[in-house]
């Protein structure tokens, strides 16, 4: 046949010429920015969720079996005596894995932001002696009660609390925030799908004539879809990169501010390698989603042509 030398059969790829074939298939107008904002918000919500989950699990590990003893006594000499008694008492117990008297300087440093340097140095405000105790196994109400009774018999000024106990409301709040973050990520993802779908639809609509012509000239569905996938994929990648940069920037600023608070609890929320991989996967998922949406939309429209 005459044409067989020039025309190859089958469904070849467009190679590098796809973008030259349909430069207008780019997502029009504000869509890349909408995608960028959605990705940025999703990144931030995901980061918040991950950080909260880190805070919760770190804190939980830290305070599992944790008990705090305070010796509340106004007179310094008596306080020291009773604190020493408490230490001796703890040394004699089998169910105590470790204990540590929190040095007064450390305590002063902890209180200084609240009470001021002068107050802590001058002993104007009496501070309790603090002992950090770690029990073997979890702290049950029953164990706590037994321990408290035994301790108070020896050290009348001692007060004993489970660390998990006074953090329970914090954990509850963290859990609520985590649910909120998950909810936000789901909502944002759904909105992103809608935005990408609309963008693909509008790109398809404004290029309908071009699609028809390429179709009539023998372009296969796959070839035509490829043109759209490529240009919409590029736009989604640009939007996604901008969104990621925006989101990560916000995370860093917030992270710096929380770090300045100097709270051990907040430090436990630092994001690890896997958290960052998860966050980086957000825009990648956005690109995959955009490409898939573009393909399904174009193939769907082409199926209606002969």
């Amino acid at each position: 046949m005459i044409g067989s030398g020039l025309i190859r059969r089958g469904g070849p790829r467009f190679s590098g010429s796809a973008t030259r074939m349909m430069p207008q298939a780019r997502i029009a107008g504000p869509m890349p920015w909408v995608i960028a904002i959605m990705i940025a918000l999703t990144v931030m919500a995901a980061a918040a969720g991950l950080a909260l989950s880190n805070v919760a699990s770190n804190a939980r590990a830290e305070i599992a079996g944790g008990v705090t003893i305070q010796v509340v006594e106004g007179a310094p000499a008596e306080r020291e005596r009773q604190a020493d008694r408490a230490l001796t008492f703890l040394a004699g117990r089998e169910d105590v894995t470790s204990f540590r008297r929190v040095p007064d300087e450390e305590l002063a440093a902890l209180l200084e932001p609240w009470l001021g340097e002068a107050a802590t140095e001058s002993e104007a405000v009496p501070t309790p002696a603090l002992i950090d105790v770690r029990l073997s196994g979890p702290v049950t109400a029953r164990r706590l009660q037994d321990l408290r009774a035994a301790l108070v018999a020896e050290v009348p000024a001692a007060r004993l609390d489970a660390q998990a106990g006074w953090l329970a409301p914090v954990f509850e709040a963290i859990r609520s925030l985590q649910y909120l973050a998950i909810g936000l990520v789901v909502l944002l993802a759904a909105t992103s799908v809608a935005a990408v779908w609309l963008a693909a639809r509008s790109a398809l609509g404004s290029n309908r004539d071009t699609i028809e012509v390429i179709h009539h000239l023998g372009g296969s569905d796959g070839q035509i879809a490829q043109i759209f996938q490529r240009s919409i994929g590029i736009d989604a990648a640009l939007g996604g990169a901008a969104g990621l940069a925006l989101g990560v920037g916000a995370i860093f600023v917030l992270g710096r501010q929380f770090a300045d608070l100097g709270s051990g609890l907040v430090a436990g929320g630092a994001l690890g390698l896997y958290d960052w991989i998860t966050i980086a996967a957000v825009p990648a998922a956005g690109v995959v989603l955009a490409v898939l949406t573009a393909r399904l939309t174009v193939i769907g429209a082409l199926r209606r042509m002969l």
Partner: protein, 241 residues
């Protein structure tokens, strides 16, 4: 069927209706032979464009059988149709150039679709644009071209891949008679290279310009073929064209 053996297109009792309207084409039967030159004439609304749409696979017939390149079209899976379309060149009545592409890129389109590399494309496209006298407008976008220039780009695009069939719908509709004859010469040149040409027109003067052409006349959706020459043409006479 002996008459259809070396044919390139064969219509058998083809009917076409849009939606649930009455048929716009009825009982269409004819055979096209490779290397022949056909004119399709008929009054406005007679069904010329509809018939060409069947020929360039933009429309499926409502009934009847169509064979093309020796294969049954009706039973072809949809995925095979692009391969058929690549063997058919089309000049649309309204050109249908892609507005954001240059003349070069518009003409290059069929070659890119067929997967040719950029280095293979450059020369044939430039040669083709020179052939239609547009070598100086190679980087122009359709909007900056005159009507006649656009028409020539459309024709260049239709013939660049050396199609086995060329289908042209009123290709001289918007140009002066002089240009019409010039364009007709392009089709004849392609025809001499072996392409089967089908030109729809209601310009009767055009018909006389191609001496060996065959004329198909549509009248209210039926093909008048009183002698049966279109369906079973004397072989030698047709090939001589």
């Amino acid at each position: 069927m002996s008459a259809g053996e070396d044919s390139i297109v064969q219509f058998d009792n083809v009917g076409l209706r849009y939606g649930t309207d009455k048929e716009v084409l009825s009982d269409i039967s004819f055979t096209l032979y490779p290397g022949s030159f056909y004119f399709l004439t008929g009054a406005s609304g007679a069904g010329k464009t509809s018939m060409l749409k069947l020929l360039y696979l933009a429309q499926r017939p409502s009934r009847g059988a169509i064979r093309m390149f020796g294969q049954d079209l009706i039973t072809q899976p949809r995925g095979n149709l692009p391969d058929f379309r690549r063997r058919i060149g089309v000049v649309f009545q309204d050109f249908r150039l892609i507005p954001h592409l240059t003349a070069f890129d518009n003409v290059a389109l069929p070659l890119r679709i067929s997967g040719m590399s950029e280095s293979e494309i450059a020369k044939p496209v430039a040669d083709m644009l020179e052939w239609v006298g547009l070598e100086h407008r190679i980087d122009a976008r359709p909007a900056t071209l005159s009507g006649g220039e656009q028409q020539r780009v459309a024709i260049a695009r239709a013939v660049i891949a050396r199609p086995e069939i060329l289908v042209a719908d009123e290709p001289t509709g918007n140009v002066d008679p002089e240009m019409a004859v010039k364009l007709l010469r392009l089709f004849e040149a392609l025809n001499r290279l072996g392409t089967t040409v089908v030109v729809a027109t209601h310009d009767v003067h055009l018909l006389r310009k191609v001496p060996d052409s065959l004329i198909m006349r549509l009248d209210k959706g039926t093909l008048s073929d009183p002698t049966g020459a279109l369906r079973y043409p004397p072989k030698r006479e047709v090939i001589a064209g």
